[in-house]
Symmetry: none
Amino acid sequence: MHPRRPFVKTRRLDSFILCSVTPNKTPGTPRRNDRSRRAILDAARELVAEKGYAKLTIEAIAARAGVGKQTIYRWWPSKGAVLLDSVLALSQNGEGEGAEQAITLPDTGDVEADLKALMRATAAEFSDPSFEAPIRALNSEIANDPDLAAVYAEQVAAPVEEAKRERLRSARRAGQIAADTDLDLFLDMLYSPLYQRWLLRSGELTPQYTDRLVEAVLRAFPPAK
Amino acid sequence: MHPRRPFVKTRRLDSFILCSVTPNKTPGTPRRNDRSRRAILDAARELVAEKGYAKLTIEAIAARAGVGKQTIYRWWPSKGAVLLDSVLALSQNGEGEGAEQAITLPDTGDVEADLKALMRATAAEFSDPSFEAPIRALNSEIANDPDLAAVYAEQVAAPVEEAKRERLRSARRAGQIAADTDLDLFLDMLYSPLYQRWLLRSGELTPQYTDRLVEAVLRAFPPAK
Amino acid sequence: MHPRRPFVKTRRLDSFILCSVTPNKTPGTPRRNDRSRRAILDAARELVAEKGYAKLTIEAIAARAGVGKQTIYRWWPSKGAVLLDSVLALSQNGEGEGAEQAITLPDTGDVEADLKALMRATAAEFSDPSFEAPIRALNSEIANDPDLAAVYAEQVAAPVEEAKRERLRSARRAGQIAADTDLDLFLDMLYSPLYQRWLLRSGELTPQYTDRLVEAVLRAFPPAK
Amino acid sequence: MHPRRPFVKTRRLDSFILCSVTPNKTPGTPRRNDRSRRAILDAARELVAEKGYAKLTIEAIAARAGVGKQTIYRWWPSKGAVLLDSVLALSQNGEGEGAEQAITLPDTGDVEADLKALMRATAAEFSDPSFEAPIRALNSEIANDPDLAAVYAEQVAAPVEEAKRERLRSARRAGQIAADTDLDLFLDMLYSPLYQRWLLRSGELTPQYTDRLVEAVLRAFPPAK
DNA sequence: GCGTAAGCGAGACGGTACGTCACGTCTTAAC
DNA sequence: GTTAAGACGTGACGTACCGTCTCGCTTACGC
């Protein structure tokens, strides 16, 4: 989307949905107005929340941000890209200016407890109305735009996935899950049902549900006795 | 969407994606031109496949179907509804004219073998390019339009879900899975990972993947020894 | 610009600038909203007079006319074409619905008196502020758009020119100007100086000026003694 | 437009369209890049000839001239002013650097012959395609922008008009035209028809036409016998 | 001979208007 | 008597330029 200078520092994550990376004013070329950039991302998020993604228009974003349309088209290739960035920006507001972060998940030594906490937090995040609309929208875009999907996968999903895998490796080392556990399959089974329920509104995301899900997944990858 | 008279007959399903129901010329009421209806649904499907859902327009459907726009607006409330119907129509072409069907899944007595076959078939169906575009599109609509989601859930998902549950009940009776298995959780864990991978393009849908998925899910619900 | 059905009737002209022809609802094809058409032409004329041609925009015309932009683009190929039509419509408002007219000029038998009156009237017309702006604008368009120039020449200029020539033929028959007078040259010498002064604002259009102009031109084509 | 120091020298004109004056680097004040100035004027002329005046943009001029937009806005108040200067520059390329010239017209003693030659040359100049587009454009601007019209009148038209009048005074002294000839009216009648034909494309500019025009105008102002 | 202020290229910015597309409603000619 | 055809008001699209505004840079004075 635009040049990024990866300056990594560590950050602890408490849920799973996403987290990422602000662009970084590459000191060389593009003299970009950061006030406008922020205003655009804020406006996009607000408008999605207010009107829904279907009624989100570039013109409305520009108007609310007090910005020319061209300033949006100059820096983002599509409405979906703006939305992606606006969600990214949201996920790290207040963070150290322009720094990438490595992500780690809590590790108390008890994988079941940790995963249950994580899943409950994730479910809560899904229910937060200020996340609901933009992420649902972003999801639609990603499902239909392979380019955006690739950016999302690289910028957003990959680091989070790696953090999840790292936590499971720790559990595997501790003998809490099978030594030959396929971490990706484990994560799919853990995470997809939650995501799917939310996306298709096919059921409530209760703590009971997530707890039982964690238990079932752990049963599927039992350590050798 | 429009009045339906459920006239049920039985049909065997070999995969999971969907299956349903054409509206039924309720003999009394609306003098509806079935030639037009078919032309519209065909045109919608073709156009989604050709251009993608984002570029699907009512005007293009009407033009290709050789139909006035009004004829579409008269019978469907939204683009998503046309698409839903067009996918439904596709899923049962060649079937007995205008009849609803009860659905059953294969039951050889070996639940693992049956589920592996089912999941492989489902994965194959996801890869069929003539299903790919419209279903992906339909999915976006459903994720963002709760009304459509409700119709989908009732008309499409419910009967399939019931068939899946029925097959699992049979397995439970046969002692192949735990007596206290939560069937919905079982199905979520089985089905969501596949669906999710496809939707977000986050991985290949290989037979190896589906087989290992089935095995893992079965391990999570072991019958009492 | 659009189909016209020429249904001619006679009309007396008292000045030279222009006069022409409304389009005629060709009964066949285009079901055109005449209320919109009129509103557009009126709005165009008003806006040119208010803001000047340089600041005349299609959007402003559409807005003032209470009409969609597309309705303008549907029927006129360019801003200049709208303007031409709007001036044409103006030149014959109140005239018999949709009828073309043949034009005749006053003929008292005294060519000098008639031409002086005609030139004074024309000069007065040029000074009318409600003609000033649109005609000046139209002129620029014509000077730079050969297509529009052709329409103008055919629809507007030709009938007026013919009427002028006819008046001069009458004078020639009456022995008031030379028998071998080149009518086109005569008219160029009579009319261009007036037009030029107005267009380039290079001098006042006083009755003295037009009178002396008429006298000089008549001196250039004296009848044989 | 910008400061000029009039340093006059004499120049013989052979036609009527225009002639004038380059600005002059007033040695004290503005450190102006003459290479840029020339590049801008050249670019403007080329682009008008290539694309037409309607599609001439400041951005395109700047781009072709390899110049920042601000450099244009710094020195010219409007597109029309650039165009005027570019035409002026054209009319005296090769002339002595930065010098104004007094203009004289050929005077062989035979006013009819001289005027015929002059009008033929002028007509030829109008037909030169490299003059056609920019002058036509300039004309539109002048017709719609009184400020520009004033600059044009003062810088371009006035000296030429004076030269024309001077030639006619000579003819009047020589008794070739009437002693009480209104020189401005004479020039209007001589010049406007030619200009008008060209501007509105209402007829060819042949030598026959200009010759007959000269003859007719001379007939209108006969010397006393 | 060395800052220093100007002119300069580049181009981002807030805007306005463009000409096009599709929407959903409506009217009409013709089958 | 329904339907295809398509005009209509509406509103968003993505693009082109506008005229203003920084940016670094170079360039030529004036101290």
